[in-house]
Each structure stands twice: as C-alpha cells, then as structure tokens.
Assembly symmetry: C2
Homo-oligomer: 333 residues x 2
C-alpha cells in the first residue's frame, strides 16, 4: 500500500521512502525498554511490522510546507504510530484477541494486566516524544487520544437514545479511526511549517478517509478469503460487533422492507454465535445487496475526503492523497 | 490528613485550603464528558472523593517559589490527581476490585473495557491540561507516567534473576507510587518559578515519601481493623501480592533462620488462599516480629525523605513537608 502511495506521489518517492526508513528506526528505538522482560513486551507489536499508514500520510503532507520531511516530521510520524500501537494493545485486551499481525497478541503472551500496561508505556513514550514538538503538537496529541478513547467508549456503551445506530456508528469510526489519521495528516503540515488552511484541509481529509477505511473493513470482514488475507471471515459478527451491513439490515427490518435472507441473517445473529451460525450468516451476507450499499457508502466517504482537498494545490502531494483515499476502497472492488 | 498538613504549614493554611478548593472545582470540571453514559463513568472516581494528597503536596511546595499558588499550580495539581485517578481505573481492572473509595469500582459498574477506556480518557484529559504548561511540565508528565507503568509492569512480571525480591519491591514502590508523588512536589516548585535546587530536593523527598507510604500500607493491610478503616485485613495476601512482611519472612527462610510461626505463614500462603488460610496468616503475622521490621523500614524511608530537605529553608513549607512525611508512618504507630 505504501509503495502504491509513494508511486502516486511521483518524484517524492525517494524522499518518502527515506523518511519512512528513519521513522522505522526511531520507532524501533522508542519501543525499547531497559529490562529484558519489559522490553520483549513493549517491542512485541512494533517488531511484528505493519503498514505504517499513519507515518506515510504524515510524511506525505509534510511536503505541503517549506520544511518537508525534517526531524520534526519524523518525530511526529513516530508519535502517531506509537499511539496507534498503544491502542492495539488495549484493543486486544478488550477483544480478547488471540492473534495480531500474524503473531500471538501481547495479552495472550503476558496476560491482560501486562498488555494494558505495555499499551500505557507506549502511550507514555509517545507523550515523551511529542513533548519535544511544542504546545500545539502536544495539545493535538492529547485531544486526539481523548477522541480515540471516546470513540471506543461510544462503541462499547452503544448508541444513546436520541442517536440512530447508523449515525452513532459513523461517529464511532470517525473518532476511533478517523481522529488519529486526521492527526497524522495535520502533523505533517505542522512539522513542515505549512499553512493552517492546508493543515485543516488534510485533517478533515484524514478523518473522512478513516471512516472510508473502516467501512471497507466491514466489507472485508464478510468477503475476505481467509487463505489469502489471513483474516477469518465473519470475525466481527462472531464478536457480536454490529458492523454497517448488519445496521443496514436492521434499518430495513425496522422499516418493514426486509427480504427473507436478510431476516434470516438477523435471526441467526440474535441467537448463539457458534461456527455454524456465523458461517451461514457470512454466506447469506455475501450474496445480499446490503453489501453493495456498504461498498457505496465507503466510496462516498472516500470521495468526500477527496472533495475537501480543494485548498491543496495540484501536484505530487495531492496526487498522493487522492491515491491514498482511493486505496482505502480499492481493497473492496 | 490534609487538615493536619495544613495546620503544620501554619500561616499558609488559608491559602492552601483555598487552592485545594479551586483544584477540586477544576478536577470535577475536567472529568465531565459531553454524553451522560460516558460522563457517569469518567466522573465516577473523582466524585467518590479521596484525600487529594498529591494536589496538597503540589500546593505546599509552590510556596517555595516567588509566585505561589497561581493558576499554573492549580492546573498542575489537577493534572497529578487526574493521572492518579486514571491509574486507579486501570488498577481496578488488573486487581478485579469490587470496591474503590467506598463505591463500586468502575470495572464492576461498566465492565473491563469501559473501565480501561475511562482511565485512558482521564489520562488524555491530564495530557490536555498539562499541554498548557510548557514543555518542561509536559515532559515531566510523560516521564512520570512511563515510570508509573514501569513500576506496575515490574510488579506484574516479578523480579529479574539478578535482582533480589526486596530490592525489586522497593524499586516497584518508588516507581509506581513515588514517581507521581515526586512529580507532584516538583510541579509545585516549577509552577511558582522556584529554584531547580528546590525542585530536585522536593522531588527526591516525594519519591522517598512514596516508598514510606506504601510500606506503611503493607503494615495496615495486616494490622487494620476492618470496622474502623473499611479495609479488609489481608487483602494483599488474598490477592497473592508479596508485600514486605512476606518478603522478609522469605529472606529469613532462605537464610535458615525462620521461626515456627513464620514458616507456618509461608506454608499457608503457598497453598490455596481461602478465607481460613488468610485469616490464620493475618493472625500469626500480627504477633510476628517481621511487622516491627517493616514498621522500622517505613520510618527509615520517611526519615530519609526528611533528610533530603536540607536545601529547603526553615519555615512553614519545610514544617509542612516534615509533617507530611511523618503522617505517612504515624498511621502505623
């Protein structure tokens, strides 16, 4: 994915690649801890790799300012990836996840308490790094982390009475995923002394891209071929997460316009969630037209992300951002 | 406790009381969240009260600088208490605690995930507040949080092979409790533009006081009368925590100088930890001389905290600090 992004960004390719190598070195250094036991735990997820989507976006938007890809950009990109990793540790505890990024999850490795604390340590390391970048960067980090937690809490606690489940869900996606992608894009502009107008535009872009990314993930959860992607189809369903396809089916049911297959899916998911139930739901969902609706929604969010790039001048950065937004939903074509 | 501290601080009493009222208002405002469900959760622990030991210490040391008890002091004091509360949310998840401060714990109220996230939200709010105070304050907050997590991790993972259990335990206490008390004391001096020499002295003082405080807690865990203190005697033992009395017994056993009662305690705790086992261990420990050894250790740490106050001029602040250190261990006389 990063390769495609860099190639869309044309002449920036080499400089972006070099930046990301430096960020990787900073990241691997940041997750080190002085004692072997703790070190193993705090390095665990960073060592397992990952797409480094957020650092790539931060690096790319830094080319909107006069001082592109400097040390401050590298630190910012490290901070957003560290923060992302910290949330993954906590997510794995909350989801009781056995695996993450092809390796056993930290919580399986060392228990819930150690995994919670390792996530906290990474967040503390991100805070230490961002403290070098001045008050605006620190404030952005704190507010972003607060939004991340709010999104996750909103998901855990469910929609308030006066908010529709679909609106609540989009709100959750914007907060828990959009907020950190938005911050990554903003950090790039901030670090290179770009204009506030550009910073606002790419932040709004990042927020919308985050929603598109998660909606695409909802499609992938149903459509993925486990052998190819390494993801077990229906993982969200199995965990009782009401993803967008299910919310759309429920809307149809509430409006009295649901078809037989759709009702069957809802009935299956309302019962005990065994392998058979989930497998049948996945099979029925794959042929159901709500999946097209979710694909269309993901594309709408990706297009709307591109729409807010108007203030950004034409050129390699904008091309890279457009490619970035399209990549989110190309995964589901 | 705060009353006794303020009274030792003599003429500062009224100003300290006023400062703590302002901090309380800031704290209650900081834990508010825009939505009722989340608000209930994030306010939960702050609303239950508490001794506000860390804000009191921060307020007291601010009188070492020329600009005592200003808005920056209030913000710093709020930040340390918010951070303390955040760790309590995570502690309760790790300990599976039913109660905290006389109210049901957040984790019992809303589940593990919500309690982890609520702790994260409070930490994010602390980060937002500290972002107003400049890079030195931000850095101090991040480093302190990292040390807190390290201490807790070191406790969870146990002593490395080359460190004695007793040294590891003292290290854990210094990190998980001393670090935030040290930061509270340092923030007071920082916020009032006091001297670096004073800041260093009160921070070292706070770290040592933190160790004394926790050692005193180990004594209280055994000696407390549940009807008076609201604490069930032997809670740590029941949870399998090896507090200092147990570590001292194990040292005696390793040196081959343990008495019959001591060996019986170790045997009991090595078996299944039922009510009878814990009750008998507590009864035996109450009459055992290792409790005197732990009391003496707590006093040593409290005295050593007072020793490092040499650079602080005689006067109301120093009197208050000495009283603060003594209060930690007066609880066990």
């Amino acid at each position: 994915m990063i390769t495609e992004l860099a190639s869309a960004a044309g002449g920036l390719n080499d400089r972006l690649t070099e930046l990301l190598e430096n960020v990787e070195a900073r990241l691997q250094a940041a997750v080190r801890s002085p004692e072997p036991d703790i070190d193993e735990l705090t390095r665990h997820l960073a060592a397992a790799g990952g797409k480094r989507l957020r650092p790539a976006l931060c690096g790319l938007t830094s080319f909107l300012g006069p001082d592109a890809a400097n040390a401050e950009t590298e630190i910012s990109a490290t901070v957003v990836e560290l923060t992302h990793l910290a949330t993954l540790y906590h997510d794995d505890v909350m989801d009781d996840a056995p695996m993450r990024r092809g390796v056993v999850s930290a919580q399986q490795l060392a228990g819930n308490s150690a995994a919670i604390l390792a996530g906290d340590v990474l967040f503390a390391k991100a805070s230490s790094l961002v403290a070098q970048l001045g008050p605006e960067a620190v404030k952005l980090h704190a507010v972003t982390f607060e939004r991340l937690c709010f999104g996750q809490l909103r998901e855990t606690l469910g929609a308030p009475d006066d908010v529709s489940p679909r609106d609540n869900y989009i709100h959750v996606l914007a907060e828990k995923t959009g907020s950190l992608i938005a911050a990554s894009a903003r950090y790039g502009v901030l670090s290179s002394n770009g204009s506030p107008e550009h910073a606002d535009a790419v932040a709004e872009f990042g927020e919308r891209v985050g929603v598109a990314f998660q909606l695409a993930d909802d499609v992938i959860d149903i459509m993925s071929d486990g052998d190819v992607t390494g993801k077990t189809p229906g993982t969200d369903l199995r965990e009782g997460v009401e993803t967008m396809p299910i919310l759309l089916l429920k809307e149809r049911a509430a409006a009295g316009v649901i078809d037989e297959d759709g009702q069957r899916i809802l009935d299956l998911l309302a019962g005990d969630l065994g392998d058979d139930t989930v497998d049948e739901s996945v099979a029925l969902l794959r042929g159901h037209e709500v999946m097209d609706d979710v694909r269309a929604l993901a594309r709408e969010w990706s297009d709307s992300a591109i729409d807010v790039l108007d203030p950004i001048p034409d050129g390699e950065v904008k091309d890279g951002l457009v490619a970035f937004a399209r990549l989110m939903v190309d995964r589901i074509s």
